[in-house]
Symmetry: C2
């Protein structure tokens, strides 16, 4: 049995998230069906973690053990021809026999994208949350820096979480403003990308952080409140869960 690790990119718009569901409409279900179609093996893949319905991945990773002798370089094209066009395997590699895509993940980066132009970009509408009123990006940056380090992120975690600990470490958190390509010129904030890198993320964590940042960017809360919200360890203190479609699993480091 070989332990294979694969990188997969997906547009999550049409799916009920990554993880297998009874309705079968998930990325994992489609990948497992493609593997079964290719090798005849009924396999359960192990991903670096789940993503919610509507959330995308530039690069998600998963591994599985297979008895198949298909050469490594043929896996991506063979699976892609059995997958819908919104899911593409980018690469397949051999992994250490003990490699486990979730347990071995050292750091993950998520990107959240907000389009602050007056009119949304039709070509990016499934990947950008439209927010046509101005945002104070400097205030958002200030608040975001408060989260860097090791903290209990209970305030930024779904109350449905069953994790024994909500302590996680954020290594880096930045906001990049995309160079203006829109026809509107420089009248608005433009498109902003929030990148957050950590050793692991709780359920809805990035989306609740973004929902809180949006309140700060709108001037409804001060950037100084971020520390109080974090310290309170109460979900009710943070802002709402931002919409899923702005979120993309960007990178995973092992």
């Amino acid at each position: 049995m070989r332990n294979l690790i694969m990188t997969v990119s997906y547009d999550g718009t049409a799916y009920s998230g990554f993880q297998s569901q009874p309705d079968g409409n998930t990325i994992q279900d489609r990948i497992e069906a493609a593997i079964e179609h290719l090798t005849g093996e009924k396999i359960i893949i192990t991903s670096s973690g789940r993503t919610d319905a509507g959330v995308h991945a530039r690069a998600q990773l998963f591994n599985f053990h297979t008895a198949s002798s298909i050469p490594l370089e043929r896996w991506a094209l063979a699976l892609n021809s059995r997958l819908p066009p919104d899911i593409r395997i980018l690469e397949a590699r051999m992994a250490d026999p003990d490699f486990h895509a979730r347990r071995w993940a050292k750091r993950k980066t998520y990107r959240y994208t907000i389009n602050c132009n007056r009119i949304p970009d039709v070509f990016q509408r499934h990947m950008q949350v439209h927010h046509p009123t101005p945002l104070d990006v400097e205030a958002m940056r200030h608040a975001l820096r408060t989260l860097i380090g090791e903290h209990d992120f209970t305030s930024f975690c779904s109350v449905k979480s069953t994790k024994p600990s909500h302590v996680r470490t954020i290594y880096d958190a930045v906001i990049e403003i995309e160079p203006q390509r829109s026809l509107e010129g420089s009248l608005s904030t433009g498109v902003i990308h929030i990148f957050i890198t950590g050793n692991g993320f709780l359920q809805h964590m990035v989306r609740i952080i973004v929902g809180t940042l949006l309140q700060i960017g709108e001037g409804k809360r001060s950037p100084q409140e971020m520390g109080d919200i974090l310290a309170a360890q109460k979900r009710s203190r943070a802002g709402p869960t931002a919409m899923p479609h702005g979120l993309m699993l960007w990178d995973i480091v092992y």
Copy 2:
């Protein structure tokens, strides 16, 4: 009656093209329905030109005469709230009473996008034609330059054309290579954009030019053949009509 000119951006994936059709599934049908819903007026809009099924527009222009007194700055948002999310009015302006979006257009630019990476980009799959084998971009550039100037473009025009003259002027034609953002690194040609600017375009003209350029990029034909194909004034001498979804109406100058 005011003569209004509007800029519209659309993702053409779901539509049977710009121009009104009996099935009603066109950009024009949707815009006219939104205007009627807003003003009660049954209006026929005049666009800068049609686009084929599956072809997109970053910026298409149209004009129409209206008795409505809705202030200029409210039109875009009012129509957008009555349009599907893949069609967005970007701007509304007052036009000269005689302005005619097709007749007054001085130059138009189209962009055609080809992704030459091994694996297509899931997020751009409706806007990029995937061509995973290498292309000789320098040969394509050489051939493209042959088309600049005033020529009879019969070889690059659908045989269904009913235009009395196939003489058009190409002002500029360039190929840009997008900076690599893919995870594949620099192993492939990457994503290329072909920009063609002219005083007008015949039916399928850009797509037939691209279909011919692809044969040249693949080494099936030499770049020197481009001049012979043009001079022959025969559709059968050029390459196939490239797929519609790589094409985008980019800009119009009046």
